[in-house]
Each structure stands twice: as structure tokens, then as C-alpha cells.
Amino acid sequence: MSVQKYVARVTSIGELAGEFIAEGILVFFSNTAPEELQEHAVVHDNSNGQSEDVQVGDTIRIGEHRFPVLAVGDVANENLRNLGHLVLKFNGSSEAEMQGDVNVPEEAIPEIVPGTELEIIGD
């Protein structure tokens, strides 16, 4: 029985988000974050919060694309819960280099447009 841990819809993509995307990193912030953070981020509308902590083995769905979670940094859940903030690294690493990281396989970052859904699903 799978559990939906987090769900959000993309509302806008910051002008400078491409700097992170070029390095295989998707930075999410909720639309309540200060403007200077939204500039660098994929901005979403989650306001329901997070039902459970994200953990290794969960699935992250971006639109139609699904990615298994390989690593979760120490403060990643705190970031997501408090700020709607997620640093998703497409690096294939099973160790979180930074405390805020959530790692998924080293794959091309899928297309994201306003309206794209972000969902985190647990088993």
C-alpha cells in the first residue's frame, strides 16, 4: 500500500534555476519563500505539508517520470516540511554529500513547466 508523502504543483520556474539544472540539480521552494530564493528554484504550491519523512526507497514523481530515492541528507526532511524546499540531485549517489540533498539516479532532468506535478510516494 503506497503512501503519498508529499504533493505539489509547479507554479513557476525561477530565472536562475537553469544554473542548478545545468549541474544536474533541481532546487524546489514553495511559493511562500522569499523572492530571492524563488529566482533560483522550481516554485510550487504545496500548502498541505508533508505526511511522512522522505526515505531511501521512496519514489519521486515529476510529471510522468519516476525516480527512486537513493539517499536523503540529514536536514532534507526539515527543509521540505518547513520551507517546501527540496534539493534533488540527479547524481546516482547513495550518499548525501550535503545535508540537504536528496539523490536520485543520474538521468536527464525531465521537462518541467508550470502545472507539472511533484509527488513523493512511500511504499
Partner: protein, 172 residues
């Protein structure tokens, strides 16, 4: 990456790229985003501008990086900007208490960068660590992050300190 290149172009258009993108990495501290003058807003502030505000010294904590920073609020830069989950962080509160500046919750309301004496963040290492140094704002990270990610080029020991706990903040 082709999609994202297109996307960037669509979003940014053909207008000149934001100046931080043009800053050559080799220019180091001289880059517009991390200019020494803007990174230390109170450097050279006159007694008139400083008024009654006191300064504090902020050192890095265990496994932290950067600093020490001296934070000197002025009449213009009198906000201790807390961009942390769950309201004003105790480190931001302590800086405010010792300097006489006002704690400010960046997630609740909006401030002009020109009013900010320093930013207190709880960044896990990739995004917020760079955003405020890039804007020329001295940045204090509660977590013991070292510079990483595409914005690392804006971060140096004179505009960033991490792993900071309340004990690392002392009267200067």
C-alpha cells in the same frame, strides 16, 4: 539539456544576462556579486551611520567553514534577516539582542537587501548558501555546510560562516 537551454532562453529572453552570470569566475572577490564593498556593508560606516548599534563577531562552529565575520548593523542596514524554518532562529535573535538590530523573518515578509545587516540561514549546503553571498549579504549558516553547487563561486571566508551556534556569536 537542450530543453533547459531553450527554457532559459525563453525565460530570460535576449535581454542581457543577469550580471552575476557574466561575472568571470577568475575575478574572484572582484566579481559584482561578491564585491568586497557590498559583502561588508558596514565597513567604513561612520559613527553617524552606526548610531547606537553594536557589532558582533561570528565564528564558525564545529565542522563549520568560513568567517569569522564581524556584523555591524547601521541605521540603514538594521535587519537581522532570518531565512530559516519555524520563525526567527535563536542565532538571529542573539545577534539582534547583542547589536540592537531588529530580527526579521524572511519567510513572513519582504525586506529590501539594502536594509539587511546579515542573513541567518539553515541551509543544507546547495542553494541558500550562495544566494545571499551573491547579493553581497554576510551569511551565517546554522548548518555546517561548506560551499558547493553552482553558487559556490560567490562564497568566501569574508561573506560566509557556517556551523554557527549561539555560543559562536560574541560581542566584538
Amino acid at each position: 539539456m537542450a530543453f533547459w537551454d531553450k527554457m532559459k532562453k525563453a525565460l530570460v529572453g535576449d535581454s542581457p544576462a543577469p550580471e552575476e552570470k557574466k561575472a568571470p569566475a577568475a575575478s574572484g572577490e572582484k566579481s559584482p556579486g561578491a564585491g568586497a564593498a557590498s559583502a561588508a556593508p558596514a565597513a567604513g560606516a561612520s559613527a553617524e551611520e552606526i548610531g547606537d548599534f553594536k557589532s558582533v563577531r561570528v565564528e564558525h562552529g564545529l565542522r563549520g567553514w568560513g568567517g569569522p565575520l564581524t556584523i555591524q548593523p547601521t541605521k540603514q542596514r538594521n535587519l537581522i534577516y532570518s531565512v530559516t524554518g519555524g520563525g526567527i532562529h535563536p542565532v538571529a535573535q542573539k545577534i539582534a539582542d547583542l547589536t540592537g538590530a531588529s530580527p526579521f523573518d524572511g519567510f513572513k515578509s519582504k525586506a529590501d537587501f539594502e536594509q539587511i545587516a546579515c542573513a541567518v540561514i539553515d541551509c543544507g549546503g546547495t542553494a541558500r548558501v550562495g544566494v545571499y553571498p551573491m547579493k553581497g549579504i554576510p551569511t551565517i549558516d546554522i548548518h555546517a555546510a561548506t560551499p558547493s553547487g553552482p553558487l559556490a563561486k560567490y562564497i568566501n571566508e569574508t561573506n560566509f560562516v557556517s556551523g554557527v551556534k549561539e555560543d559562536n556569536v560574541t560581542e566584538a
